[in-house]
């Protein structure tokens, strides 16, 4: 069985363009995974949506500013790691 391991938005570089494959939140630092998933959904991170990393911070390339459709959302790479993505760049 071969599963192509998709990347996460948390690891992607600035300029990355892709599509959301799914949300796979883990409980990070004691913050409940289920709550993280709901918050991401409320900000529009839904399967199938195109995403692009527009900006990143200076220290540890963190946080990142992500374009999701018509909105630009800032979040930390730690939480962006819950967003599974595939690249759509040729």
């Amino acid at each position: 069985m071969t599963t192509v391991h998709p990347g996460t938005l948390g690891n992607a570089a600035r300029g990355f363009r892709g599509r959301i494959l799914g949300l796979q939140p883990l409980t990070i630092g004691g913050f409940p995974a289920e709550e993280l998933e709901r918050r991401l959904l409320e900000l529009g991170f839904v399967e199938g949506e195109p995403v692009e990393i527009l900006h990143q911070g200076l220290f540890g390339r963190d946080p990142i500013a992500v374009r999701v459709r018509t909105a630009t959302i800032a979040l930390r790479r730690q939480e962006a790691a819950a967003i599974l993505v595939e690249s759509t760049d040729a």
Binding site: G30, R38, L43, G44, H55, D62, A65, L75
Partner: protein
């Protein structure tokens, strides 16, 4: 109340929507000056309510709600938005109509919110705001289709354009006959992930069916962000902006301050001429001159600086820059254990800790919020400006250090920096040492498109803040001044007394009583007298010094306080006084707001205690270092 037809009573309408979709702009456009700010019962969340009449003559009471993405409500701010919509607030029935406000250029998150709100069963109306921007950007919206798909009436609006709210008002009028007053609480339960996903999918489907969005970002925002969010340039710009802000506060305000100062001096002289200094009237003359005019005047003179600071903050907020600042600062704040979102409350605390602490309601995590509340009073609020300006003006020579950067400005910058560093240091202690191992709250924030701030909206917001300051000056500060004057003037010196009158007063007795405690940090009894009312409101310390020295010097003009101090204090005392005020246990208003926001007296005592300890320690070290260096 329920049997009154909807058309004949005042309709209650609430504005619900995502942050930055233009709710407040719409609220201002609809209600104009007929608005007031009050508090919700039991909590300090500001409740902005205004009245308007529709073209058909219906009276509407409009409520501006804090922005939210969901009725799930994580932060106290969002809890209010939800509870108002659901009618859960005692004494505040659910609104007759909820107007969902969406940014027409970015509506998908708001449409999801609308679908969620539909389940409450309350009548809804969707206002696609910023329609002017949407048209300009070539976004085509089929309003009828959208309305049919959503099952609620939809209108377009442009809050900042003349006549941009006409359709909204007409739509409200059309809906009035069908509106029935809410009975009790609306039913609602928090959606789980599956429900959220489903509503977002549904919203996206509806948008795909009725809206044509060109695949293009706002060109202005793209260009600006390439600099303002650049990892290095962005931080540089932020630093320069903050520096400019403080330079402006001191440079631009000066002419206005001189004007106000001159006005109060003239008023004092007028009273001096009108009332004889001798006899029973002498007491009245002293009360008016030294107590009321010198006291209130020495505080009001700082109105221009405070207004400029608020103006800067409001402009940056309306421009859409504040969210960027939070983005840039997240890691730096994170190092101190603070949330990126804490940047905005902390920046507001430069103006005043009270709105700053209230602004922490956007922070969802309780611990993060508490840490921010505890350190917010360490940020240099505008009430410290009078103290700093007075001491710096009197003791720090006005000379250029480098180019246009003056020594006085530099010292001021240093004091602000000390406040910031101590706030970060203390939050580090709280978050990293005291509350080690609590869950890490995620930082997620929408970065809105840049918009040119509107004079009217900024003007209204600024006026609300200035009014609050004037009210303070007219009430708390005035009352404290009367008390200080009384204590400094009574009892009157006996006949043939040789010492200055104040030496016989209660104030002198109190000051000398606390002096032993203050002597190690270089403070004299006059400072002791000033510190006590200074706890009610920091700027009162300056006014109190003014009164004490005015009465002591008899003929001396209170507005010349700076010169008086320069002759009476050593440099070491002055520096210790500055150091004290970096930490000075905050004003009564701040303590009251901490009490309400944390819901506990313990945190109030804790904040007061730790700041008092820091203030004493800082003044002690400063004084002894300065003395050792020969400034005693």
């Amino acid at each position: 109340m329920l049997d009154v037809p909807a058309g004949q009573r005042t309709l209650r309408v609430a504005l619900l929507g995502n942050p930055n979709c233009g709710k407040t702009a719409l609220f201002n456009a609809l209600t104009g000056s007929r608005q007031r700010a009050a508090n919700y019962p039991g909590v300090t969340v500001e409740r902005k309510e205004g009245v308007l009449s529709t073209p058909a003559g219906h009276r509407v009471s409009l409520l501006d709600l804090p922005g939210t993405y969901s009725l799930r409500a994580r932060s106290p701010d969002e809890v209010i938005a939800r509870d108002v919509v659901l009618g859960r607030i005692a004494g505040l029935p659910a609104p007759d109509l909820v107007v969902c406000v969406a940014d027409a250029t970015n509506m998908r998150l708001c449409l999801r919110l609308l679908l969620e709100a539909k389940r409450t069963g309350r009548p809804l109306l969707l206002a696609l705001n910023m329609i002017d921007l949407a048209r300009h950007r070539g976004i085509e919206i089929d309003l009828d289709r959208l309305s049919a798909e959503l099952g609620v009436p939809v209108v377009a609006s442009a809050a900042v354009r003349r006549g941009g709210t006409g359709e909204l008002l007409a739509a409200i009028d059309r809906m009035v006959p069908g509106l029935v007053a809410a009975t009790g609480e609306a039913a609602w339960s928090a959606p789980d992930a599956a429900a959220l996903r489903a509503t977002q999918r549904e919203a996206d489907r509806i948008i795909a069916a009725s809206v044509m969005v060109p695949d293009r970002r706002d060109p202005l925002t793209r260009r600006l962000d390439s600099v303002l969010l650049h990892p290095v340039a962005g931080l540089l710009v932020l630093t320069v902006l903050l520096f400019l802000m403080f330079q402006a506060v001191f440079a631009w305000a000066q002419p206005l301050m001189d004007l106000i100062d001159g006005g109060f001096q003239a008023l004092g002289a007028l009273v001096g001429d009108a009332i004889p200094a001798e006899g029973a009237l002498g007491l009245l003359r002293s009360f008016l001159q030294d107590g009321v005019i010198a006291g209130v005047g020495s505080v009001l003179v700082f109105l221009p600086q405070i207004a400029i600071l608020f103006l800067f903050i409001l402009l940056l907020e309306d421009l859409g820059y504040m969210a960027r600042a939070a983005f840039l600062m997240d890691r730096i704040m994170g190092g101190a254990g603070l949330h990126g979102r804490a940047f905005i409350p902390l920046l507001s605390s430069f103006a005043c800790a009270v709105p700053g602490i209230m602004a922490t309601r956007v922070i969802d995590s309780r611990r993060d919020r508490l840490a921010t509340i505890l350190v917010a009073p360490l940020m240099t609020c505008s009430a410290r400006i009078p103290v700093y300006t007075l001491i710096i003006g009197a003791f720090i020579p006005d000379r250029a250090v480098w180019g246009w950067v003056g020594l006085q400005g530099l010292v001021m910058f240093g004091l602000y920096a000390a406040g910031i560093l101590s706030a970060l240091g203390m939050s580090f202690v709280f978050k990293r040492l005291v509350w080690r191992g609590t869950p890490n709250e995620p930082f997620m924030l929408e970065l809105p498109d840049y918009k040119l701030p509107r004079v009217r909206d900024v003007g209204i917001a600024l006026w609300l803040r200035v009014k609050a300051f004037l009210r303070r000056a007219g009430t708390i500060i005035f009352a404290m001044m009367v008390v200080i004057w009384f204590l400094s003037s009574v009892p009157r010196p006996p006949e043939g007394a040789t010492e200055p009158a104040i030496e016989y007063s209660f104030a002198h007795a109190i000051g000398t009583a606390v002096e032993p405690v203050l002597r190690p940090i270089g403070f004299n009894w006059q400072i002791g007298v000033a510190l006590i009312p200074g706890m009610a409101a920091r700027e009162v310390a300056v006014a109190s010094l003014g009164t004490v020295y005015a009465i002591e010097g008899a003929e001396e003009d209170a507005t010349q306080l700076g010169q008086a101090l320069a002759g009476k204090w050593s440099l070491a005392t002055a520096l210790a006084f500055l150091a004290w005020y970096i930490f000075a246990p905050q004003c009564a208003a701040t303590l009251a707001v901490i009490r309400r926001e944390t819901g506990s007296r313990g945190w109030v005592l804790f904040t007061f205690g730790y700041m008092l300890a820091l203030a004493y320690l800082a003044a002690f070290i400063t004084f002894h270092t300065a003395v050792a260096l020969g400034a005693g």
